[in-house]
């Protein structure tokens, strides 16, 4: 566990979370959310939770993002907020 | 032979939970595309489950209080265990029996409303029941969370199978339900970080041993868990998701969830209050008893008044549930035996009477094709049998003897008086009076027939059934009568039931 690393990832996580919620393009939001998941995955690995990191990588960064993109494609891409 | 029966009795809780689960899986495997393929399997598995629940109940009573079942054979806190007392066994029995009877009741409706998706409908339906039973039995805080999520996911999907309004209300439910469940999970996390265990009894023991009752994090955990559960049980003002969800959902779902979901969550609240935190903390250390009773008073009054203002029958009933949840929360929090018994007893009685009313109203809405109060016009003459069922449920809601609603009110009011919470007592009586107004308004309409007054404005096309029923089949009437009989029986045997509950909740 390296706390400097920890802090950097956490800061990036907050930033990506805010960006994911602020961009008006839902496709971009989904992708940024994928980045957010990937950062979390890094964080877990760094904190020693390798199994959680593995799951998060496959489920969070992988499938979640894909199904979100799929939904964006079959609905609207623009969001009002 | 005796050994064999002992073995069966030992495994009965497992049968209660797993029979619906296996039923669901088999429905998925074998029910392909046919509308009624799932029904026989659902009925068989639920009957099996009911037998399991009843055997469990008698086993609990015979063994003097509680049963424990170690899943995976691991001793707690390493493994997950079931802890079943009379309250749990009764609640589980109520859950599976309602599920079974409702499966019969909704036989024709599932075919009509779910069509080709009927097997999937039954899969979700059965898993919902399995989840509810699991919630009732488990003694592990995290297992509880997983099961809560199973019931939530199944109910989101089941509700969303209704019309387009149902999908929208289901989405709201997803948002609020997730917040509720997540807050519960967070609260469990707070407890875990302070106690290092997930076993509900173990938490209380660990907190007592470490003497950390006064810590801020324990209080916050308590509040988080409670707020989470309140969201799931639609405690005013966190009830926003419920009225639309229950009234636009498919018929079979409304009649299943209205009697069960909120009640099981009340059960969980009782469990958490008494066993995870202990009565001393819940009523003393947490220091929020007075506020919660005041909140429940507000919930009762608000629920009743909102119900009074509705012209949509099902929505009116859901607001009545909001008020009933207020009853139970208040009863659980006045902090004495009578109140607690009342709250626990009301879980059963409210399940019976809500079930009865929802079935009657569903029949009426389907038969008349009208979802507003105008549907009732002249019904005593047109649909006397349905109205008998409706009347029994309504009298119970008002709280007239010998229905179960009267006796739960009796215990709750007694608890309120004993604790000196006059505001709560007045709210209970007020809600009885409002219920009387609501239901006698309906009776009047049903009894006198045509009335020359303008129809209430605001027709809502989405809650109107597409095609009125030609006639009411017996498969709908018999379940209604069973529920009405349950309302009366739970009332008449309240003394016995309350005795068991009192022993289970001994504080």
């Amino acid at each position: 566990m390296i706390w400097q690393f920890d802090i950097i990832i956490l800061i990036f996580m907050v930033v990506t979370a805010v960006i994911a919620l602020r961009v008006k393009d839902l496709l971009a939001a989904s992708m940024v959310f994928g980045i957010y998941s990937f950062l979390i995955c890094l964080l877990w690995a760094e904190m020693g939770a390798v199994d959680v990191a593995f799951t998060e990588a496959t489920v969070g960064a992988g499938v979640s993002t894909v199904i979100m993109v799929a939904t964006v494609f079959s609905t609207r891409r623009r969001s009002k907020d | 032979m005796i050994e064999f029966f002992g073995f069966l009795a030992h495994q009965a809780p497992l049968v209660t939970v797993l029979a619906p689960a296996f039923g669901a899986l088999l429905v998925t495997l074998f029910g392909r595309g046919k509308a009624e393929a799932g029904l026989p399997l659902a009925l068989i598995s639920l009957s099996l489950s009911s037998v399991g629940a009843v055997v469990t109940l008698f086993h609990v009573l015979a063994s003097g209080g509680e049963l424990r079942y170690r899943l995976g054979g691991w001793a707690p806190p390493f493994g997950i265990e079931y802890r079943i007392d009379a309250l749990a066994a009764l609640t589980a029995a109520a859950v599976v029996l309602v599920g079974l009877v409702n499966a019969v009741f909704s036989k024709t409706r599932v075919a009509a409303e779910a069509g080709e998706k009927a097997p999937f409908f039954y899969t979700l339906y059965l898993f919902l029941l399995a989840g509810l039973c699991g919630i009732v039995f488990t003694n592990d805080a995290f297992n509880l969370y997983v099961l809560i999520e199973i019931t939530s996911l199944t109910s989101y999907a089941l509700i969303a199978m209704g019309n387009r309004r149902a999908a929208l209300s289901s989405f709201n439910y997803v948002i609020m339900g997730t917040v509720g469940a997540s807050l519960y999970l967070l609260g469990v996390g707070y407890l875990y970080i302070k106690t290092g265990t997930l076993n509900i009894d173990g938490m209380r023991a660990a907190m007592a041993e470490a003497g950390i009752w006064g810590d801020a994090s324990i209080t916050v955990a308590f509040i988080l868990i409670l707020v989470g559960l309140w969201t799931k049980m639609a405690f005013f003002p966190l009830h926003g998701w419920m009225p639309n969800a229950y009234s636009y959902a498919p018929t079979a779902v409304g009649t299943l969830m209205a009697p069960l979901m909120t009640k099981v969550m009340v059960y969980v609240m009782l469990r958490v209050m008494l066993f995870a935190f202990g009565a001393d903390f819940s009523y003393g250390g947490a220091g929020c008893g007075d506020i919660v009773v005041a909140l429940s008073t507000v919930a009762i009054v608000a629920g009743s008044l909102l119900a009074l203002a509705r012209s949509d029958i099902k929505k009116m009933l859901t607001y009545l549930i909001v008020a009933e949840v207020g009853y139970m929360v208040g009863g659980a929090w006045v902090g004495n035996e009578a109140g607690l018994t009342g709250a626990a007893y009301h879980i059963l009685s409210d399940a019976a009477m809500t079930f009865c009313l929802f079935m009657a109203v569903s029949i009426i809405v389907l038969r008349t094709g009208d979802h507003r109060l105008t549907a009732f016009t002249g019904l005593f003459r047109k649909m006397p049998l349905t109205m008998i069922g409706f009347t029994v449920g309504a009298l119970s809601m008002i709280g007239l003897p010998p229905t179960c609603g009267f006796f739960s009110k009796w215990y709750l009011v007694g608890g309120g008086i004993e604790a000196g919470r006059w505001d709560y007592v007045v709210a209970l009586l007020f809600s009885s009076l409002v219920n009387a107004v609501i239901f006698f308004r309906i009776f009047e309409r049903a009894y006198f027939g045509e009335m020359d007054e303008p129809a209430p404005a605001g027709d809502d096309a989405d809650s109107r059934p597409s095609q009125p029923l030609e006639r009411v089949p017996w498969s709908m009437l018999v379940p209604l009568f069973l529920a009405a009989a349950a309302v009366l029986l739970v009332g008449l045997f309240n003394n016995t039931l309350a005795g068991w509950l009192r022993a289970a909740l001994a504080i």
Binding site: A53, G62, F73 | Q11, R32, L71, G73, A130, A160
Partner: protein, 250 residues
């Protein structure tokens, strides 16, 4: 709504932060959660009871196996729920309003690459499932990867191509079988006289000692988990990308 949201956030945030001061320090090995007999037993004792070096797998599949079974059910229910909500059996495509997506045309390079990668992913996924006892991984991770391989196929070569490998009916059956394997394993324990999911009861029919019975049983249920997860991940994708029509997706 925004104001209400702000107020709710401030109240809940303040509540949560008020408790933070009370927690043991981050990473403190002596915190109650880390020093409790529970976690100590899992770390120090589980290998003697299960012979599985990956502690997470041991706890996941054995000590808290009942949780994991219901976790599989959660996945299963989600998949069935999505079908129940979204799947439009036989609805003509013209009746549904069009979304913003446009059909991308097939690209030879992508198709070829994916066809090459597809078996590799699957083999690795199977390794993850099977090797979960000794390294990070297990039924969930492997299952998701297997599912992802089909998703990749659907993305690159179109949904029909993926459906040829894993048809809708087969998917649902596979998912159900996965849960049945897990729950059935538990029932088998009951039939051999143990409690539900008490793998030790299966000692008579599984080679090796009691610990190995547990270890092998874990592998068995992990495979069940993998079945379900594979199938449901694909179901989720297939339905969501086509709005339940299961024709050509993205």
């Amino acid at each position: 709504m925004k104001l209400f949201g702000l107020i709710a956030v401030i109240i809940v945030g303040a509540l949560l932060l008020s408790a933070t001061g009370d927690f043991p320090d981050f990473g403190d090995p002596q915190s109650p959660a880390s020093a409790s007999p529970l976690s100590t037993h899992y770390i120090e004792g589980s290998v003697y009871e299960t012979k599985v070096p990956n502690l997470v797998t041991a706890v996941l599949a054995d000590y808290r196996g009942f949780d994991t079974m219901f976790e599989t059910v959660v996945i299963f229910v989600a998949g069935i729920g999505i079908i129940a909500v979204l799947r439009a059996f036989g609805t003509p495509a013209a009746e549904l309003p069009e979304g913003g997506g446009e059909e991308g045309d097939d690209d030879l390079i992508i198709r070829t690459t994916c066809n090459l990668v597809f078996p590799v992913i699957q083999v690795f996924a199977l390794y993850v499932v099977a090797h979960g006892h000794h390294s990070p991984g297990g039924g969930f991770q492997g299952g998701v990867m297997l599912g992802a391989s089909y998703i990749l196929l659907a993305l690159s070569c179109g949904l029909p191509a993926a459906k040829r490998r894993l048809g809708e009916r087969q998917t649902i059956v596979l998912a159900a079988i996965g849960v049945i394997v897990f729950a059935g394993w538990g029932v088998a324990c009951v039939l051999f006289g143990g409690n539900f999911l008490d793998y030790a009861a299966l000692d008579p029919i599984i080679p090796g000692d009691v610990q190995m019975a547990r270890s092998h049983s874990m592998l068995g249920v992990e495979i069940g988990v993998a079945f379900t997860v594979t199938a449901i991940m694909f179901v989720i994708y297939a339905n969501l990308s086509t709005r339940g029509r299961l024709r050509d997706g993205l």
